[in-house]
Subunit: 446 residues, 2 copies
């Protein structure tokens, strides 16, 4: 999906020769996202040069498609006044993201250089937390009062079309600004010009409370297969709208976030430097490392037993590994179930009971199998076989249980369930597994 | 997001008393997805009863919202002729999914009972693999020739609106059916009635090849923020269209699939029975178990060394655990990077080099720390400290490398990169870690 190598080569040639006319001609046929991809492929210096050749209209669309690195390069090269013109032309949701990422001082200067009406709109939007409906909505939309005729609505759309992108429907509000209904564009086309819009509107539209968490907003879009949803305050006043393209990005973001959390890394590390990459992973691994050190001390505590029966050591990795793996499976199952809505709020006990059953079945099976193998290796010591079998059963059952309950608890207390991640789980399971293994061994053998 | 408990209670009461009129009145105000949620909450027998009360129009929308369990219950209760009417009324993409899931014989009977034009459309769509553009597209759309005026297009939309849901744009095709352009609805509204559609169309529309993998289709939608994309064959003939609501579902599905793969489970197990749940997890765990058994034999091979220096056993879990964790992190990073397009095809070597650097830094750090701690525990044996430190460095570096390369290799040979899953990784790392640990110990100590 990246820009074509031949295009990039050509563009670099044009830039080095300073052939601006050729560059402008080349960019003319491209969509904003494609221009953004070309900019990504350039070096720091050329990025700004290329961007300055774009007209305000194109620039405002290209800039929201850039990665944060390239965006910073481009922003360094343009003046506050130029940036103000570009921001004015952006959809308000993208404009807020951009202004929100600027240093406070520059943000202030850019806002001051903007049309006061536009800047106050952005100031109003900056209030909402980034990951709520308010933080992702845009103010641009077409809204009319119930008395308007189709003809009047079409005239209004014609007037607003230059400013509002992606018009999919018209919102109907009363004089207090309260949402009364929605009409998709196709129904405008199908109705007679003198029909009043109130006669054809859906009077029970789905709407999004402005403080709803963005993950819940994605669930609403999925449930109702929506393309656009209106955002309202507590008095049902229409504040803005959310479009599905932003929802698609958020679904991706949230899934990535959950996956990285589960693996014990907390942001997209592919594009960052080696040091940044390593340092982001250090805290998670440090918890595992601490757990591991603690475990070493625990095992050392059983050193006298181990030296009497050194064969016990041979089964440690499998007992800990099976627990860790089955526990991570359960965590993933629950975390994903919560994210996609498959785990509803009512049947937690049922889920826990079921997973406990699953863990017990798996533990019995693999415990019996390992017990049998142990008996083959140590035919003179049937107790050892029993200890090993029981320990696998024990670690798998407990791991399934903990891996199920832990993310549910995190979810219930309002934390991200993915915090109960794989590394966290496997470290916890290592500790429980070692104590149980040697505990059972001491009880039955020594 | 589930149905309200009070609604379910009321509905169950109505069903038990046989008050059909009340049920119909209750369902009247609900959207199809909400009716589907109520059906999910009922027992097997009531599901069919409720479904039979719906008119064909509603039934055709409700049935595509049901989970496979409830859908099977409902399908058991309706005749082939009734089902044929419902399928005729469904969007063709949903109809194909439904018919494709029926037993071959019943599918044949239902298709035979349908209007021949409708059934042949479905037969044509059944040809395409489920996870390609052809498998997810629908045939319902509005297409016109370039010479049509806006007035004529609007008349056509009016005529087709009862059959085509969610009209967002009009496709323009020539007499050979080749895609020539696209016009969003809003541009129809903005143009004069006697304008020819060719004058306002986007003549370079994004289109999807019919055999494109559905994951690549989602990338196109994300890149161009599309709501609808046309599907074409190799001669650029328009075959159908894909709408963004299906893309949202696919993005979710693919992320879930990757996550479960990474955790070593291969389908959504929350709704399945304990036995099914356990049996799906058995094969993955069996590979881990086999690896663990092999590992036990390896360790047993070093038994004589272990009995001389039993303290070696205490560090096994931490050496294996750190390798497994850091390896799973790398696998997740790469798998997600491939899925979201962040890992492009050109810079694999760069990514591998970077991850190797990250692994080495992390390995140095945690190796040095554990070496120091070992020295505190065994001050008389500095070699032991060296062995433990080197082994952590070794297992973390190798794990990062393997965790990066393995998913890339799977991807390159056309397999799902997520197959290089966490459990797989940690088992492989256990084996490598044990051999390296005892190998280093034998070399340096004995």
């Amino acid at each position: 999906m990246a820009a074509k190598a031949s295009d990039i080569k050509l563009l670099k040639k044009y830039i080095s020769k300073g052939w601006e006319f050729h560059i402008i001609e080349m960019l003319h046929d491209l969509k904003p996202v494609e221009i953004a991809e070309l900019i990504e492929a350039l070096d720091e210096e050329s990025r700004g040069k290329l961007f300055l050749l774009l007209d305000v209209d194109t620039a405002s669309e290209v800039i929201s498609e850039l990665s944060s690195d390239s965006r910073d390069d481009v922003l360094d090269d343009i003046s506050d006044t130029e940036l103000a013109r570009i921001v004015e032309d952006m959809d308000s949701d993208d404009a807020v993201d951009l202004v929100g990422d600027l240093h406070d001082e520059r943000a202030e200067r850019v806002l001051a250089a903007m049309d006061p009406r536009e800047s106050s709109e952005i100031r109003n939007l900056l209030i909402y937390p980034e990951d709520t409906a308010g933080g992702i909505m845009q103010r641009e939309m077409v809204s009319v009062t119930p008395g308007a005729t189709i003809d009047e609505v079409i005239a209004l759309i014609r007037q607003q079309a230059p400013e509002v992108n992606d018009i999919h429907n018209v919102f109907i509000i009363d004089h207090q600004g309260r949402l009364k209904g929605i009409v998709p564009l196709v129904n405008l086309i199908l109705s007679k010009p003198d029909t009043r819009i109130s006669q054809i509107m859906d009077t029970d539209p789905i709407s999004v409370p402005v403080d709803m968490d963005q993950e819940d907003v994605t669930r609403l879009f999925k449930k109702y297969d929506s393309v656009v949803l209106p955002v309202v305050d507590r008095e049902n006043r229409l504040l803005g709208r959310i479009t599905v393209d932003d929802i698609v990005d958020i679904i991706d973001e949230e899934a990535t976030e959950d996956m990285f959390m589960l693996a014990g890394a907390d942001e997209d590390l592919l594009s960052s430097s080696i040091l940044k990459n390593a340092s982001t992973r250090i805290p998670w691994l440090f918890i595992c490392w601490l757990g591991g050190v603690l475990n070493s001390f625990l095992i050392k505590g059983f050193e006298s037993h181990l030296s009497q029966l050194v064969g016990l050591a041979a089964f440690m990795p499998i007992i800990l590994g099976m627990g860790g793996n089955v526990g991570s499976q359960s965590v993933t199952l629950i975390v994903r179930g919560i994210a996609t809505g498959g785990v509803s709020t009512t049947d937690f006990l049922k889920i826990v009971g079921k997973q406990l059953g699953v863990g017990a079945i798996l533990g019995c099976m693999y415990g019996a199998m390992l017990g049998a193998i142990t008996f083959l290796i140590y035919p003179g010591n049937p107790k050892m076989s029993l200890v090993v079998g029981l320990s696998i059963f024990n670690s798998m059952t407990i791991a399934t249980l903990v891996g199920t309950i832990l993310p549910i608890i995190f979810f219930k207390i309002g934390k991200d369930p993915a915090v109960a991640s794989g590394p966290f789980m496997s470290t916890a399971m290592d500790l429980i597994g070692v104590v149980a293994y040697f505990g059972i061994a001491v009880l039955l053998i020594f």
